[in-house]
Amino acid sequence: MKVLEPKVGMLSNHEVLAHITAMKARYTELHHRVGGAHAMKAENLETVLKEVRDYLSHSPCALQTPKHISTFMAAMAPYALEKGELLQILNERPETIAELDCIIEEMEARFEEVKVQGILDVVNSTLPRRPKEMGEGEA
């Protein structure tokens, strides 16, 4: 086993979720068509895919579509944000200035308050809100 390049690219949570969903759909379809012999045999694969899917379906990316993402990226172009910061905003969907401050380094130095509010407005208008948490409302 050889690692040719540890970091070839970054994936947003939404892309990972889309890939996993497509993979599961392909396996289910194959299973129906050909029978049990060709179904996903590896238990560790089933486990990790289920767990990742559970985690991602409770995160903001579950309700995003590629259109949301391209609108968001176009709207964010005027603000000079790093790739990692854009990725985090997409994955975490901050709703308050405090949350944005955690994601963007040196936010106060790089952007004045009007711009920061502008970024939050872009987030609110282009990205759907987080899915409601399952944990809330339980005793």
């Binding site: 086993m1 050889k2 690692v3 040719l4 390049e5 540890p6 970091k7 070839v8 690219g9 970054m10 994936l11 990972v16 890939h19 996993i20 993979m23 194959l30 060709h38 996903m40 045999k41 590896a42 560790n44 694969l45 486990t47 990790v48 895919l49 767990e51 990742v52 559970d54 985690y55 995160s59 990692g84 985090q88 975490e92 901050p94 709703e95 308050t96 405090a98 949350e99 944005l100 401050d101 955690c102 994601i103 380094e105 948490e133 944990g135």
Partner: protein, 198 residues
């Protein structure tokens, strides 16, 4: 993130009826899914196959040995990344956090807010802020920033050591150290209330 791997994949004869691509994908996923690769991260699944060489059939077993280059989806948060998880347990040293698929996230007590104190009776950390007490209960959603990661090389244990101590303390292959010190970090519920008030 995506990582580029190259590996020798062995396809057993009973899988020859499958499409080569499918058989390779199954073997790769079976080998790498939910496993930690040293200094890379937790492998989730195959993303795509880049290059496949000619398969050579080995003596004896009749399996095909194929050289494959492929990309894997790997979980490895970068330093400074902000994530959300649930508190699994607390101790005097700090707080253990888990996501659905990854358990080994730890926030040492030095990386918590300044006004935090540990309640021994209930085993929770409490944040004293302006006279308000905020409890960090189990299973609460908490936002944290990644500070560091620790990879442990898992060497196989020699047989005679294994016989002596039946219960060996194995360090997890991949641990993440996090912090919750800035405004906006800590329990998600604390900051949500603030947003609603505005």
């Amino acid at each position: 993130m995506l990582s580029f791997f190259s590996d020798l994949v062995i396809v057993n004869p009973e899988d020859f009826s499958k499409q080569t691509v499918d058989a390779l994908e199954d073997q790769i996923n079976a080998k790498y899914a939910d496993k930690v690769v040293y200094n890379i991260g937790l492998c989730i699944c195959l993303f795509d196959i880049i290059k496949v060489s000619e398969g050579k059939v080995g003596h004896g077993s009749g399996s095909a040995h194929i050289n494959v280059q492929f990309r894997l989806i790997v979980f490895r948060p970068f330093k400074g990344e902000v994530m959300t998880g649930r508190i699994s347990s607390s101790s005097q040293n700090g707080i253990n956090v888990r996501t659905e698929f990854f358990d080994e996230i730890f926030i040492p007590h030095t990386y918590l807010f300044d006004g935090m104190s540990f309640d021994l009776k209930e085993n929770v950390w409490i944040w004293n802020n302006d006279g308000n007490q905020f409890y960090m209960d189990k299973n609460e959603l908490i936002r944290f920033r990644i500070e560091d990661e620790v990879f442990e090389d898992q060497l196989p244990v020699t047989p005679h050591v294994q016989i002596d101590c039946m219960e060996i303390e194995r360090k997890p292959p991949y641990r993440v150290i996090a912090s919750a010190q800035q405004a906006g970090m800590g329990l998600v519920a604390w900051w949500e209330e603030e947003a609603e008030q505005r």
